[in-house]
Symmetry: C2
Subunit: 327 residues, 2 copies
DNA sequence: CTGTTAGCGCTTTCAA
DNA sequence: TTGAAAGCGCTAACAG
């Protein structure tokens, strides 16, 4: 037994004194093999420390066991939970997920789609940007399934999972108004995120329904780090007449707002699109739009495998449930 | 132009009226190609929407552009930050990272190593368990580099990155004692995590040095979710004589402890191994052992690529810096 | 139930 | 500088 080289299927077949095809069948779990040959192959594989070469199998069979995933920011809890859920579901189908973080850069997104498609994955899960469609349309035309997560994929009719951003926000802000909050500031992320506009609109609609409005300058865009959120909140709260509530359109802005509200000692309510750690330990009321991100990631993967099983079926757009939780 | 099939290198060569090898050279950036041929190939590739098939290249050349990564829990911020850092560094080397979550199950860990090595990755980054070594030793003997992250990989001499758990904890607990805290509880994770013992020892050593000790029953093991931490903390704080400080040996336990301390209204200090959101908004003092997890992940990947460049070099064990921060 | 043959798309080797 | 041929490890298609 020579350990200096990786054992191939041919080596195993040789060792077991069977044909390479029989070895292949055994190691792929094909039933129609005589028990004594199966045993011989298994013994040989184990003896030689055989490990299949999926790349070779992929090349020949045309189907790999990988699913690509491109998310906006792997170190953001929302996106990493999506990835965790997708990986769970993929594992049920014997697939690995290649998860990459585009960091919001469309240049990097282009590189990553290129790199991922070069692996000939079963499909792609992506939190798309407005630049995504042209990157993937060729591949989609070859029948590779793509699922859009969180944001819509404009210009391409693919399966998707996402929230009803407008409705859930309207409901949450309405609840905040009903407990007496009238004067809102809004911390929003980049307008390039398609989820942001409906959230902001939802908030403003809820206010308008009660005859309220957001004062000029109190809608702060482009908040995508906690420290930006802290700076913006600190500025707002130090105004002569600070707001009595802040709607935080993403998870990092809620953390930053909570931190500064605590520092200021003011009683300011938080309405947050995402649950955040220690949200129930704040002084002012906290209204949170809860959602199960891990389940959302799993759902996206499920749509992908569903389509693989039935390529002709109509595209589906899943609206993930949210729940309002008041701390 | 027929779009019904993916273009191969042969198609491109054909279209450009050059040999397949010349097309290969151009698309791999080999310099020794006449400019006019290069231009023809590039035009053809673009016309046909050519996308290379990395699996085929891997098979022939023997080296892939993937790095495997197995972490304990993708939805835990510590691990996802490691993954983000590793992905960054890998991208600099033109590699993709396949990140998988073992969920602390050694069975799943075994499946994942199997699946990942089947892809013939350049190397593996792993937060190992006590069961890891036998899973990877064959592959290591073939020269595939493995880097252990956070925990040591027992029984195998591989590169690693990790903390000085004992020393940093001792320092933090010493600081807590010096601000008047004497009576500690300890929330620890599973003893299977090799990082836990030194942290607990470090804490106890710091106390012993001041003539203090942890009361029997006040060292709680196996805390790995926030709700477990909350339950344990609630129980401890409702004792007739609650502690005046809690050492939280991982990030989720700190969140749970903070939540319950807030609810109880007691002045209990937190010493936490990891920074946590809103740590500065707690009533009691919070002492945090800070570390840059993203940099740690990047460092691990760097060790991997270093070794790829110089397979013979001695193994390196990087101790990642930590800093004590007092809120 | 088992084996043979061909070839997936690419890179390597070697020759021109 | 360019090209022809071989073959990486595996599976599909077809025989036996």
């Amino acid at each position: 037994m020579n350990v200096s080289r990786r054992a191939t299927l041919t080596d195993v077949a040789h060792e077991a004194r069977v044909s390479i095809k029989t070895a292949s069948r055994v190691l792929n779990g094909v039933e129609t093999v005589a028990p004594h040959m199966r045993a011989r192959v298994l013994a040989a594989a184990s003896l030689l420390g055989y490990r299949p070469h999926r790349g070779a199998a992929t090349m020949r069979s045309g189907t790999s066991d990988m699913v690509g995933m491109i998310i906006r920011d792997m170190s953001n809890n929302f996106y990493s939970s999506l990835a965790a859920g997708a990986a769970d579901e993929a594992q049920k189908h014997g697939c690995l997920v290649i998860t990459c973080s585009s960091e919001g850069s469309s240049e990097r997104e282009a590189q990553l789609t290129e790199a991922i498609f070069s692996q000939r994955p079963r499909g792609l899960l992506i939190t798309p940007t407005s630049m995504t469609a042209p990157l993937i349309c060729t591949e989609v035309s070859f029948g590779t399934p793509v699922v859009a997560i969180d944001e819509p994929l404009e210009g391409l009719d693919v399966d998707s999972v996402g929230f009803d951003n407008l409705l859930s926000t309207r409901e949450a802000v309405t609840a905040a108004v009903s407990i007496g909050r009238r004067d809102f500031a809004i911390l929003s992320d980049s307008a390039a995120l398609r989820t942001m506009a409906p959230r902001v609109v939802g908030a403003k609609e809820a206010l308008a329904a009660k005859g309220l409005r957001v004062r000029p300058g109190m809608t702060i865009p482009d908040i995508h780090t906690e420290s930006q959120a802290r700076a913006a909140t600190a500025r707002i709260l130090s105004l002569p007449r600070p707001p009595d509530a802040i709607f935080c359109a993403n998870n990092v802005s809620a953390l930053g707002a909570a931190a500064e509200i605590h520092t200021s000692g003011l009683n300011v309510a938080i309405v947050a699109f995402d649950e955040f750690p220690l949200s129930h330990t704040q002084n002012g009321p906290v209204l949170v739009i809860e959602h199960d991100d891990r389940a959302m990631g799993a759902m996206a993967a499920q749509l992908l495998f569903d389509r693989l099983a039935d390529p002709g079926r109509a595209t589906r757009h899943i609206v993930v449930e949210t729940a309002l939780r008041i701390h």
